[in-house]
Symmetry: C2
Subunit: 255 residues, 2 copies
């Protein structure tokens, strides 16, 4: 008959109203919110309450405010920082492990390549080729440039897949993975061989995308991730990932 109620704080209502305004487009990125003093009259609450609401919105990456700015808090363009933060803390809390992350990445990045193989334009193909050549060029010199071009290559794949959600998911998962084991990788002894191998694998994937072979692109991408990161996993965890490597014979894993 009756619904249970939760006492709702004043600042929550303010957050909801501002979030709603951003959501429905009445507040677009770059626009300014009224000053805190203005907001306290509009909402009919005290300054502290307004500030608590603004803090929450700020921690969600939706607005930013600077002292002394006469224009008031600014509405930020959409960003994935909140997603980033919440996923990182899940990882830190060990609710999600490296194996979970890699398995998920094999799924999403694999599917991204599958879609990219179908929908890529020739311009995108050229851009991928360029990114790959930049990777090759910076193997011997610049570790940072290599990593940058690597990211660029994956971004181009995700973009070619034409799914914004997939794009964001790939981006977040990739960076969280790196954040977890970057040190181990850069400290590895045969770093240069690893980089060269990575180039070779990227070339294979690119070939499949060029040939518009979605299944090959997907499986190569998954295999790449698996073999690149498998050394950092326990044996039990490796088994969870191999399931996604069906190889060319799809039904082989039933036996």
């Amino acid at each position: 008959m009756f619904e249970p109620v939760r006492p709702v704080r004043a600042y929550e209502l303010i957050v909801q109203q501002i979030e709603g305004a951003i959501f429905d487009g009445s507040l677009t990125p770059g626009m300014r919110l009224p000053s805190e003093r203005e907001l306290m009259t509009q909402f009919g609450v005290s300054r502290s309450t307004v500030r608590e609401a603004l803090r929450v919105l700020q921690s969600e990456g939706k607005v930013a405010s600077r002292p002394g700015d006469p224009h008031g808090p600014v509405v930020l363009p959409f960003s994935t920082t909140a997603l980033h933060k919440s996923m990182s803390s899940l990882v830190r809390a060990e609710t999600v492990g490296l194996a979970d992350l890699l398995q998920f990445r094999m799924m999403t990045e694999g599917c991204a390549n599958q879609l990219a193989a179908v929908f890529r334009t020739s311009q995108q193909l050229a851009a991928m080729q360029a990114a790959l050549e930049k990777m090759r060029a910076s193997v011997k010199q610049d570790e940072a440039a290599f990593a940058y071009s690597d990211v660029a290559f994956h971004d181009l794949i995700a973009e070619a897949a034409r799914n914004k959600l997939l794009q964001v998911a790939n981006d977040v998962v990739r960076s969280v993975v790196l954040q977890l084991i970057q040190r181990k990788i850069t400290q590895s002894a045969d770093r240069e061989a690893q980089m060269l191998d990575s180039c070779r694998r990227h070339a294979l994937v690119l070939d499949a995308v060029r040939a518009q072979d979605p299944v090959a692109a997907r499986q190569l991408a998954r295999k790449h991730i698996f073999e690149y990161y498998a050394p950092y996993l326990d044996e039990a965890e490796v088994g969870r990932l191999t399931v996604l490597l069906e190889g060319s014979a799809e039904s082989a894993d039933i036996a």
Copy 2:
């Protein structure tokens, strides 16, 4: 030579300290934080500043405070609510459409079924069977019970896949999809036929999971989602989804 600096607010430092304490285990779920007045002396700041920090931690789902509680704010168990919220707002940010969502869901839920087919235990299998029968039982009577059992079925699949991240992703995407087009579905004329059809499809997926046929489970799940929601999409969008329906012959789509 020098790094650019960002002015750091007092409340941010407090948030970092408390987050750190939760992370490294000195604050475990269920434990209480000191009262606000105690915290202001410990951190050497005013009460407002302490409260701003607590609001942020609260919006991140890490602590909760009730008025009048002499024990102070409580440290919450790790939860995925923060991830939930940030993913929802990502979807609402118009950059992601229904087609993106469904395509993504076909990927993740497909893979979840694939993994579940391999790793499911017999107990989990029985639980899935039970959920399916509950769905069948409530077709004619209770729309809410049907939806509930439907969710339970999918949750069991995700749980059997043994990947917490995948579990959360599926949950979020599913709820956002529903939130987007629930009305259209419940208003549909032949609602009962739809529900019966849904049961039939779930049974097919369950058969594949029981037979430990990962590829069949994956493709059936994807096909189910596609055919269930395709009527609500434009024709151009439908094309983006069909790519993921390779059918039984994996290489057929190259031709």
